[in-house]
Amino acid sequence: MSRTLTLLGIESSCDDTAAAVVRATGDPKILSSVVIGQTALHGSYGGVVPEIAARAHAEKLDDCVSEALDRAGLALGQMDGIAVTAGPGLIGGVLSGVMCAKGLAAATGLPLVGVNHLAGHALTPRLTDDLPYPYLMLLVSGGHCQFLIVEGADRFRRLGGTIDDAPGEAFDKTARLLGLPQPGGPSVQAAAAEGDPGRFRFPRPLLDRPGSDMSFSGLKTALLRERDALVAAQGGLYERDRADMCAGFQRAVTEVLAEKTRRALAEYLCLAPRHPALAVAGGVAANSSIRAALDAVAQWAGAAFVAPPLALCTDNAAMIAWAGIERMQIGLVDDMTLAARPRWPLDNGSAPMLGGGKRGAKA
């Protein structure tokens, strides 16, 4: 690794306001990582409300930056650059982060580095485990689900991904349909632990098709149908029904992810990487059933399984600072015209999977 770089990272693309200081030496170090969540603000709406998220970011970002610097025991002037998520995400929050970073960069004369949020996730295994390129990354969160071969700090090749919802969304929706608290990931997992995964047979969409594309929207529809049938028959749900549905749902998601990962791994292994590895990132990677299944698939394929600690799997700014460091190391910096982008696919070479029109592809 080249010279020592210390970067401030800023992240505000969804419902977490975050700032962090990361230093790259021989062994990269997270000097601080502050994440201020907004779960309570969005609680009654059953999902993240973009305008509410944007309002919160605009008034918390500078506090978050101050706290990250304080915890690191460093002043702004001791940074070598400022990295900020410039997309993709909810544009109001991304804009606030980008403008705050521009203000800080102008005031200090430090280089500004715009980072793709997905690149932040995808490069995290290099921060935590010094993973060599190329590795296979499954990015699976509330907003995203894709397989990427990570070949460099700005070189990503997408093998496949969801053609509709992300699994995290499906967990949240399941929790809402069953009257469990948000966020849905932990509450569905806890209920599933008590349930019988064999009682309800939910669909495994796209398993019958080749490749590693996925679909999760049909799963929640199937769950809604089963729920409504039970409510119609018995006037409500027993705890037992709820646990069984969660268990069945979680098993379906797990099996789809495991099988698609097996196929993506096979494609990745054709590159004959010297140190084959499967890495995961995103909040859904915190699910223990999914994590265990992915670990087993990696073992079967002879690849190492790398799952960064949970706090670095979910949205955070340390990953943005780190991705900024990797970009600076290969000479990629931005200027004051840096744009905030609601949509920004990591892989511009592959055909768009989601979205289109004048706003461009979502993934």
Binding site: S44, Y45, G46, G47, V49, E51, I52, A54, R55, A58, E59, L61, D62, V65, S66, L76, I91, G92, L95, S96, G97, V98, M99, C100, A101, K102, G103, L104, A105, A106, A107, T108, K173, R176, L177, L178, G179, R227, V231, Q234, G235, G236, L237, Y238, E239, R242, M336, T337, L338, A339, A340
Partner: protein, 223 residues
């Protein structure tokens, strides 16, 4: 000698900015812009500073338009101002559209109601006494401004001022902000002279966020 001041505003379809030295406007810009303010703002500010041979660290305070106005536009400027203030260690001072509107309306009276256009035939209004806000801002429906009582001898200033005045028995001065950089300079100069504000600038939204509670009713859980 007072340090130079910089103010900017993107609360509607424009980028406006001004540099003030010793109480005088020395550089100003007003660029109509329907989109792209986030990309254009900082280069615009740097051009104005360079024209004056000023560096960012020469500034004594930053003024920023906090609205009411376009939510996204307000956040663009407020976020930049807060980043600059943190980085420079100087105060950022919020300048409301009400203050900017009132600034051009001659001497403030004992009771002014300042009105600013809001979407869908409504207006943002705020009461001022001797040039200082007395209550928080409100959103009123221009169809029913009568639901609103004002102290006697109130002057309504701004958007649809005469209609609001007629309905409430006040006098009305129709006005619009046609010289934004000059007003940013004037209001910032006045507020900066009062010292650093206790709070950092925050967007003045007035309207709550559009958000509907979840439509998914949870099922009854049977014991």
């Amino acid at each position: 000698m007072d340090a130079p001041l910089l103010a900017f505003d993107t609360s509607a379809a424009h980028c406006a900015a001004v540099v003030v030295r010793e109480g005088r406007v020395v550089q100003q810009a007003f660029e109509p812009m329907a989109r792209g303010q986030a990309e254009a703002l900082m280069p615009l500010l740097e051009r104005l500073l360079q024209a004056e041979r000023l560096a960012w660290r020469d500034l004594g305070a930053i003024g920023v338009g906090i609205g009411p106005g376009n939510f996204t536009g307000i956040r663009i400027s407020v976020s930049a101002a807060r980043g600059l203030a943190l980085g420079l260690g100087v105060p950022a001072i919020g300048l409301s559209t009400f203050e900017l509107m009132l600034d051009g309306a001659g001497l403030p009276s004992a009771s002014d109601l300042v009105s600013v256009a809001a979407p869908r035939d409504r207006a943002y209004v705020q009461r001022f006494a001797h040039g200082r806000p007395v209550d928080g801002p409100e959103l009123i429906d221009l169809g029913t401004p009568t639901e609103f009582t004002l102290p006697p001898e109130t002057r309504v200033v701004g958007y649809e001022a005469q209609a609001i005045a007629r309905a409430t028995g006040a006098t009305g001065d129709e006005a619009e902000i046609d010289d934004l950089p000059a007003r940013l300079a004037a209001v910032l100069t006045r507020k900066a002279a009062e010292g650093a504000p206790a709070k950092r600038p925050a967007p003045l939204y007035v309207r709550p966020a559009d958000a509907a509670p979840s439509r998914d009713a949870p099922p009854e859980i049977l014991a």
